[in-house]
């Protein structure tokens, strides 16, 4: 019975996140009455650029994830499916489009106020996954507002020249986005504000992130990947001073943990890594299953902290020196995503760092049914990981937001099998 009560030691600061996000969305809801423009952002999004011009913007994926975390997804999914979006469309899209349809029809449920967002004045699409520009295009039609898309090439040739050319290409599109914003906000672009955000706040957060990254490699793990993933939330959209303060506090808490010997799981025996986006509706179930067995989900490519080179790619420490041009930095940021990189690159820059740097005993690869960028190549990746590192891998098939595709029995079986193999090997 004693064992049953074991739980992950959650980072205290993460308790603020839900409140921060509520506040963030409240602010967005207020925007129209304050005369601020609203932009719905699909895909890789340059929130810096929008925040600097005081445009209220949010990530459509995040709105969908919030609805899913609140277990209200089916209300929106049903709406989109009834209007013709087939079930094989990305589930984030179906939720978000469902909400857009309710908005234009003026049919918003009063008890769903916390998920409500105002109509957009314009739409952004960062096309790292081709579904994104199509999703954004649907929003453009639903609301009949302008849309701006940035095309993000898939980088097949893994050399510096191709990479830098791609960054340049993205940058030139971002330059046009600035013009687009000027036109749509009716005032000249606020470059000072952008420089402040990029070279002040984002630089500081990059430093914090690099530091947290290093600390995350400790054994036993200082924080679980669940916390890492949850902590990513504010970073994904906020660009205000509060964001910096939050991560400063997170860093302090982690340092404090180091000093006082506090860890995520005191009896940590097995360390797992997670790859892929997360079935948010299953966080609780999964962590309650792992902790009592002394299994620590130690790292994930989807979180803040513990993401190794991925974080370095997103925030190149010396990348800030790219002639101090904020757009180049943002182009770099948008272009670096794993979505547009080869399997070779992912094995080298992502998997290797996790398995090696975090002394992982086994890996869970999440294969979300309606998200191809994450699910593609996972079987081959699993084989490569097993062969190269001699650790077992479980590929679990579920979905990031559509729980109809989460087969609990099958997931349990696969995870149980994974743990059995690890136990056998480690004793």
């Amino acid at each position: 019975m004693e064992e049953q009560r074991k739980r992950y030691n959650r980072l205290k600061c993460t308790a603020q996140i839900s409140g921060m996000m509520d506040k963030f969305y409240e602010d967005i809801r207020r925007a129209p009455s304050e005369g601020r423009k609203v932009c719905w952002c699909v895909g890789a999004s340059p929130f810096e650029i929008l925040a600097a011009q005081d445009v209220a913007s949010f990530h459509t994926e995040n709105q969908a994830a919030r609805i899913s975390a609140g277990q209200e997804h089916m209300y929106y999914i049903d709406k989109a499916e009834k209007e013709g979006w087939p079930t094989d469309t990305c589930s984030y899209t179906r939720i978000n489009v469902g909400s857009a349809l309710y908005i234009v029809e003026g049919q918003w449920r009063e008890d769903h106020e916390r998920y409500r967002v105002p109509k957009p004045d314009f739409i952004w699409a960062g096309n790292t996954c081709p579904a994104m520009v199509q999703w954004a295009d649907s929003l453009r039609r639903i609301f009949d507002v302008p849309m701006f898309g940035v095309d993000c090439p898939f980088i097949y040739d893994d050399d510096d020249e191709t990479y830098m050319k791609t960054v340049e290409y993205t940058r030139s599109q971002l330059q046009d986005f600035i013009t687009f914003i000027e036109e749509n906000t009716g005032r000249p672009y606020n470059w000072d504000a952008l420089n402040n955000i990029v070279f002040g706040r984002m630089r500081r957060i990059a430093e914090i992130r690099a530091e947290i990254d290093e600390l995350c490699k400790r054994k036993p793990a200082i924080m679980s990947a669940f916390d890492q993933m949850i902590a990513m939330g504010p970073y994904n959209q906020l660009r205000n001073q509060e964001l910096v303060e939050f991560y400063e506090e997170m860093l302090l808490e982690i340092k404090d943990r180091v000093k006082n010997g506090i860890v995520a799981l005191p009896d940590e025996k097995y360390r797992l890594m997670w790859r892929g986006n997360f079935p948010w509706y299953a966080v609780g179930k999964m962590s309650r299953w792992m902790a009592p067995q002394d299994i620590c989900l130690a790292t994930s490519g989807y979180g803040f902290g513990g993401v190794g080179p991925h974080a370095r790619g997103l925030f190149p420490p010396d990348g800030f020196g790219t002639d101090d041009d904020p757009l180049t930095f943002i182009a770099w940021n948008v272009t670096t995503r794993g979505y547009t990189r080869t399997l070779d690159f992912k094995m080298r820059e992502e998997v290797h760092e996790y398995v090696d740097g975090y002394e992982i005993d086994g890996a869970i690869l999440h294969s979300p049914r309606s998200c191809r960028p994450w699910s593609m190549q996972e079987y081959d990746m699993a084989k490569l990981i097993e062969k190269r590192y001699g650790i077992p891998v479980a590929v679990i098939e579920a979905d990031h937001t559509d729980p109809r595709y989460y087969n609990e029995a099958s997931v349990d079986l696969k995870l149980q099998a994974l743990i059995e193999i690890i136990k056998e090997r480690k004793g």
């Binding site: 209007e83 013709g84 979006w85 087939p86 094989d88 469309t89 990305c90 899209t93 096309n127 996954c129 081709p130 579904a131 520009v133 199509q134 999703w135 295009d137 649907s138 453009r140 039609r141 898309g149 940035v150 095309d151 090439p153 898939f154 097949y156 290409y169 030139s172 599109q173 046009d176 080869t342 399997l343 070779d344 294969s367 049914r369 309606s370 191809r372 960028p373 699910s375 593609m376 190549q377 996972e378 079987y379 081959d380 098939e397």
Partner: protein, 379 residues
């Protein structure tokens, strides 16, 4: 019609077997084109035969070790054939990543199909009407050209490229003529036979296909066709794969006929001619940017698929549209609702059918198509 039965015969054999034989007989090289809009003319200009790859019709076994069951049939099937070595006759592959699934297949095929020595993935812009689109596309085309030239140690000359474009344009014109005939007399051939003709053209030298088309056109005597009483249907979609012939037959069995189409193995393949000017690469770039059939894998607000299909219905005086989504094709999923809205607004009956590689029974599809045809008849 002699030529028509020739096309039917070609189709009775799995394409990879037929091509392997062709290669042995001719001693020529073959490059497989995978993904929409590979600029075949460039390969043709190297005197190599470009062929469009398909998932074939056999059960997917090895492919299932690399792809989840919820990926589209074409992606799982082509991977399957490549892993089984059935595409080993290919001297190379050019893969255009029109969607994320195809992107993913590049590495999988590279890792598991060792006998295909040249695998070249290409990226084309997905947002078509941007300031940068053409410049970027030209760079990609130049890269592809350079890569092909390097690997085969042979230059793709401007003259050769012009000539290839001409041959492909002729094919496009001949196909358009055939389609025009079908619009006027849908009875000239079965929909399945039209598919055989296009499939053959996707996998044989265009010069030969052109000759066959000329023969066929002169064989078709339209004066023997009286007014067709059947319900005229338009088909759209079936991306990256052929239509199951059973479905084409069902449409005809229940009293319908296909009068025009926007199918992948259909007008989508040949409708966009290349307006060749001085610079053939530029012409190829323009062809992609100004493609005639709006494509679910690209974004261009000035070219709407729904409106395009509504126009097609009006032009051919069809009674309705059947949209064919290759099951799990996400690109098509995103655009489909807009086709549906357009049909609804124009008062055009519309039916959605999803096709899978693995089909156990066509009965449910038959019931739906039958009801659809009855509905149009009743109007």
């Amino acid at each position: 019609m002699k030529t028509l039965s020739l096309f039917d015969k070609m189709n009775s054999q799995p394409y990879y077997e037929r091509l392997e034989e062709w290669k042995k007989e001719t001693g020529k090289k073959i490059i497989g084109c995978w993904g929409l809009y590979v600029p075949e003319e460039m390969i043709h200009a190297l005197d190599i035969l470009p062929v469009i790859l398909f998932n074939g019709r056999e059960p997917i076994t090895l492919g299932a070790q690399h792809w989840q069951s919820y990926m589209c049939g074409p992606v799982r099937g082509v991977t399957d054939l490549a892993c089984k070595g059935k595409l080993d006759f290919l001297d190379g592959m050019v893969i255009h990543d029109c969607c994320h699934e195809i992107r993913g297949s590049v590495d999988i095929i590279k890792l598991n199909a060792h006998n295909i020595k040249y695998i070249k993935p290409i990226w084309f812009p997905k947002i078509l009407k941007q300031k940068q689109t053409k410049q970027r596309l030209l760079e990609e085309l130049k890269k592809l050209k350079g890569s092909l030239e390097d690997f085969w140690g042979k230059e793709i000359t401007v003259d050769a490229l012009h000539r290839s474009i001409e041959i492909y344009n002729e094919n496009s014109d001949l196909m358009a003529e055939l389609y025009e005939m079908r619009r006027r007399h849908p009875g000239i051939m079965k929909a399945g036979q039209m598919q055989h003709i296009i499939l053959a053209g996707m996998q044989m030298p265009k010069e030969e296909h052109n000759q066959l088309l000329k023969d066929l056109l002169s064989e078709i005597r339209t004066d023997s066709f009286s007014e067709d009483e059947r319900v005229k249907i338009i088909l759209s979609g079936s991306l990256c794969g052929e239509m199951p012939e059973e479905i084409l037959d069902i449409i005809e069995d229940v009293g319908g006929c296909v009068v025009d189409d926007d199918l992948y193995v259909g007008s989508r393949y040949f409708l966009t001619r290349v307006s060749d000017g001085n610079d053939p690469l530029e012409a190829l770039a323009d062809r992609y940017i100004d493609m005639v059939p709006p494509c679910p894998t690209t974004q261009d607000p000035s070219n709407d698929l729904g409106q395009y299909l509504v126009n097609m219905v009006e032009k051919s005086r069809a009674g309705g549209i059947i949209n064919i989504i290759t099951k799990f094709c996400e690109a098509h999923c995103h655009i489909y609702p807009w086709v549906r809205y357009a049909c609804r607004d124009a008062g055009i009956p519309e039916l959605l059918i999803e096709t899978e590689h693995e089909v156990t029974s066509f009965d449910p599809i038959k019931t739906r198509i039958q009801a659809f045809v009855e509905l149009i008849k009743g109007e």
